[in-house]
Amino acid sequence: MFKRDLVVVGGGPAGLAAAISAHENGVKDILLLERDQYLGGLLNQCIHTGFGLDYFKEILTGPEYADRFIQKIQAIPDIEIDLRSFVVRLEKDKTLTYLKPGGLHTVRPKALIMATGCREKTREMVHIPGTRPAGIFSAGLAQKLINIEGLLPGKEVVIIGSGDIGLIMARRFTLEGAKVKAIVEIQGSTRGLMRNMVQCVEDFDIPVYFSHKVLKVHGKDRVEKVSVAKVDRAMNEITGTAFDIPCDTVLVSVGLIPENELIEMAGVAIDKKTNSPVSREVNKTSVSGIFVCGNSFKVYDYVDSVTADSELAGKLAAEYIRNRR
C-alpha cells in the first residue's frame, strides 16, 4: 500500500484544475487517477466552441480548453498521472483500491479530491414506456460515437429533452446529414442555455415541441417511431393531442446525475435527491479530508465554473494537508 499526500480521482477539467491548484498551493506529492485512455474527460468529445469565455477570455472548443490544462499538468513532475486506472473501492480512511491493465493497487492519501463528473439520466429513469429496440442513445453517447469514433448513430432523430447536450446534438446530427425531426421538451421552455437554442435549434430550423412528452417508443429491432402528446401543467397527457413521429433514432437528454457511488461506498453523506454530497461548505463533504469538485459536486452549466470550483478544492486540500502536519 502506498501513501501519498494527495490523490485526485478524475482527469477531466475538474481533476486537472484541482491537481494543478493543489500544486500551486504547496502540495508536492500528487497522484491523479483517470479511468480513460487520455486526460480531458468529456471535453474531448465537445468539439463545439463556447469554452473559456470567462476563464481565458477566449472562445475555445472543448479539446482546446482541456489542452491548456493538460499541457500545464504534464509539465509538473510532482504530479504523477495514471491513465486507464479505475477506482473500485474507497474506504472512509481514504484508502483507494484501483485496477489498471496489469495490476490492482491500493493507495492512502492524506487528502482526497473526487472529480468524477456525471453520468446521464437514462430513458428508464424517466419511465418512457414502449419497446427497447436499437437506436436509443443518451445524447453524450451519440456525441462520442460521432465526434470520437466517426460513426453516424442514425438518420432520422427525435431528441427527448432540451438540455444543452440535446441542443448541441441537434445541430451535430444536422451537420452530419441526418434529419432531426423534433426536440420534445416536457417543460414550457428550454432547459439549456439560450445561446444554444439560437445557435443549434433556431439557426437550423429544428422543430421544438415545448410542453410535450414522449408517450411511447415503437420499433421491434430498431426504433420506428415515437408517440408524442401535449401535456398540461401537471405534466399529464392532454387527450386528443397525441401524434406519431417516424424516426430511427431517439436521443435522451434529460439531465445529469453526479457520479458519487464511490464516496457513498465510503460512508460520505449523499443527498438522495441530487446524488451530490451533503455539504455545508463548497467542495467539503461530511468526511474531513475528502473533497468533491466539478460536476460531481454540483452540475455546472459552464466548464469555466467547473475550473473555478476545482481550483478552490485544490486550495482547500492543500490547506488540509498543511494543517495535518
Binding site: 473500485v88 485496477l99 429513469m125 419511465h127 443518451s138 466517426g150 453516424l152
Partner: protein, 474 residues
C-alpha cells in the same frame, strides 16, 4: 442425419440438450434468433420456485419440486451462482391467513421441504421492511434465484462440450415426416432426425402444426418487470409473494441474482407474439402492488424495466409424445414454473424418448462440469489481483457500473456472444445504472474486432438491430 432435433434454444431446449448429451446420440438444437435465450427465457424473473404456487395435482407442480432439487446440484456442476434465499407468501387478512394453511397442506403433499407458517413477530425480525399490515406468511426455504439467461448459456455450453450441435440463427420452416424420419427444412438448410422435440416457446403451436398437431394454441401473456438500483439491494431478505390468484402469482418483490431488487410482473394477454412493450399503466399497477408489500419502494429507485411474454396454453404443461406424428414430442405451454422445472422436464423427455424406442447408451466420457468464466463483480478483490497478474486484460475495465473487464467481454464472445445483448446477458456490461452510455463505444469496437465484422454490422440482438447507420471512415 440426427437422432434428435430440438427446436428452441431457451431454458427448456438447452436443458434437454444437456441431458441428452450424456448419451451416444447425434443431437442438434435449432434456435431462430441470433443467440440462445433471446426468446421467452431472457425475460424470465430468475426465480427457482419451491412449489407452493400451483395446485398440487398438476404436472407442473410435481416437475417444479423435482426441478428445484435438481437445480441446486446442476448449479454446482455447471458453475453458476445460485442463491437459496427463501420465499414468503404474505397474508394481509385473517381470511388470507386461512388460505396459507391450504397452501401449506398442498405444498407438503407435493414434498416441498421446510414449509412453515410464520407470525408477525417472526416477520418483524426477519423481514423488517415488510408492511405492518402483514398478519402472517408461509415460509418456503427452498426458493432461490439464478440468472435465467446465464443458466441457458451454461446448459448450452456444457451440451456443446459434450457433442450437441448448436444451430443458432436457424429457423425451422417446415417439417415433413417420411415415415421413418422427419425432414426439417430450415432457413439454413435441410436436416433430418428420427425424433423432434418441440420446445419452441411462443411458437410451439406453429411448430406443432407443421406435423399436423393443432389441438393447442399459444396465447402470449405479457408481464412487465421493473428493476431497482442495486443500492436498494437490502430492502428484502426473502422473495416476497402475495397470495396467488387463478391466473397469476401477483406483484412480487424479489431480486435478481445480480443484486437488483425487482418488482412485478403484470399479467396481461396480448395479441402479438412479439409485443414486448412496457406501459405506463403497467408501472402504476406494479408500484401499487409492490408498495403493498414494501411501502418504502419509490418510483425514483427504478433504473430499468422490461417486458416478457409467457407462452400460455391452458393451465398445465403439455409434455407428450404425439401418436399422430410418431417421433414428435411436444414440450409446450411452459410458463411459470418452467425455469425451475427445466431439469425435471429434461428427465421426463428422456423417459418419453426411451419409451418410444430411442436407444440410450451412456457415453464413456461425459463432462459433467463446465469451465467457469470469471465475473469481477462476483469475486473478492484479492482474487481479482491474482487474475490480473495472470492476464493483464482483467485490469482493463470496460463497464464501470458493473465492473466488467475487456477480458470478460472477449471471453463472452469466445463462448458465443455475437450481439450487444449477448454480451450484456453474459457479462452484465450495459446492464448497470448508466445503461451503456459509458461502455457502448468500447464494446462495439471489441465485438467488431473479435467477430471480424465492420462496426456498422454490430447489432443489438441480430439482423435489423444494427447500432449505427454509417461509418464515416469507410
Amino acid at each position: 442425419m440426427h437422432d434428435v432435433a430440438i427446436i428452441g434454444g431457451g431454458v427448456v431446449g438447452t436443458s434437454i440438450a444437456r441431458e441428452l448429451s450424456r448419451y451416444r446420440l447425434r443431437v442438434a438444437l435449432f434456435e431462430k434468433e441470433a443467440e440462445l435465450a433471446f426468446g421467452v427465457s431472457k425475460s424470465n424473473s430468475g426465480i427457482i420456485h419451491p412449489g407452493t404456487q400451483h395446485p398440487p395435482a398438476l404436472l407442473k407442480s410435481r416437475l417444479c419440486v423435482q426441478g428445484n432439487r435438481l437445480t441446486k446440484k446442476l448449479a454446482k456442476e455447471l458453475g453458476i451462482d445460485f442463491k437459496e434465499v427463501g420465499e414468503l407468501v404474505v397474508a394481509f387478512s385473517d381470511e388470507e391467513a386461512k388460505r396459507l394453511k391450504e397452501l401449506l397442506r398442498d405444498g407438503r403433499s407435493l414434498g416441498v421441504p421446510g414449509l412453515k407458517i410464520v407470525n408477525r413477530a417472526w416477520l418483524k425480525k426477519n423481514e423488517p421492511n415488510l408492511s405492518g399490515n402483514a398478519v402472517a406468511a408461509l415460509y418456503a426455504p427452498t426458493a432461490g434465484i439464478i440468472s435465467p439467461y446465464r443458466w441457458v448459456y451454461d446448459f448450452a455450453e456444457n451440451a456443446a462440450q459434450n457433442g450437441v450441435e448448436m444451430r443458432i440463427g436457424t429457423k425451422v420452416e417446415k417439417i415433413r415426416s417420411t415415415g421413418s424420419v422427419f425432414e426439417i427444412t430450415t432457413s439454413k438448410g435441410v436436416f433430418s432426425a428420427t425424433f423432434v422435440i418441440n420446445a419452441a416457446g411462443l411458437y410451439a403451436d406453429d411448430v406443432a402444426r407443421m406435423v399436423g398437431i393443432d389441438d393447442f394454441k399459444i396465447t402470449p401473456r405479457r408481464g412487465e418487470e421493473f428493476l431497482l438500483d442495486k443500492k436498494r439491494g437490502h430492502i428484502t431478505n426473502h422473495l416476497l409473494f402475495p397470495l396467488p390468484s387463478k391466473i397469476s402469482k401477483g406483484i412480487l418483490v424479489t431480486r435478481t441474482s445480480d443484486g437488483n431488487p425487482m418488482i412485478g410482473p403484470t399479467s396481461e394477454d396480448v395479441a402479438d407474439k412479439e409485443d414486448l412493450s412496457t406501459t405506463a399503466e403497467g408501472l402504476k399497477v406494479v408500484l401499487e402492488g409492490a408498495r403493498k408489500l414494501i411501502p418504502s419502494i419509490h418510483e425514483n429507485d427504478i433504473i430499468a424495466y422490461f417486458a416478457g411474454l409467457r407462452p400460455v396454453t391452458g393451465e398445465d404443461f403439455i409434455i407428450r409424445h404425439e401418436d399422430k406424428a410418431p417421433g414428435f414430442i411436444n414440450v409446450a405451454g411452459i410458463q411459470s414454473p418452467g425455469l425451475t422445472a427445466a431439469p425435471a422436464i429434461a428427465l421426463m423427455v428422456v423417459d418419453i424418448l426411451k419409451k418410444n424406442s430411442l436407444e440410450l447408451k451412456k457415453k464413456a466420457v461425459f463432462h459433467t462440469h463446465r469451465k467457469k468464466e470469471y465475473h469481477l463483480f462476483a469475486i473478492p478483490l484479492e482474487k481479482t489481483k491474482r487474475l490480473i497478474k495472470k492476464d493483464a486484460e482483467y485490469g482493463d475495465i470496460v463497464c464501470r457500473c458493473e465492473m466488467v473487464s475487456a477480458k470478460e467481454v472477449r471471453d463472452a464472445i469466445a463462448r458465443g456472444a455475437t450481439t450487444m445483448d449477448g454480451i450484456k446477458f453474459r457479462t452484465r456490461a450495459q446492464a448497470g445504472r448508466c445503461h451503456g452510455s459509458f461502455c457502448t463505444t468500447r464494446l462495439v469496437k471489441i465485438l467488431a474486432e473479435e467477430t471480424k465484422t465492420p462496426i456498422t454490422g454490430v447489432t443489438k440482438r441480430g439482423s435489423g438491430s444494427e447500432l449505427v447507420k454509417k461509418d464515416r471512415l469507410t
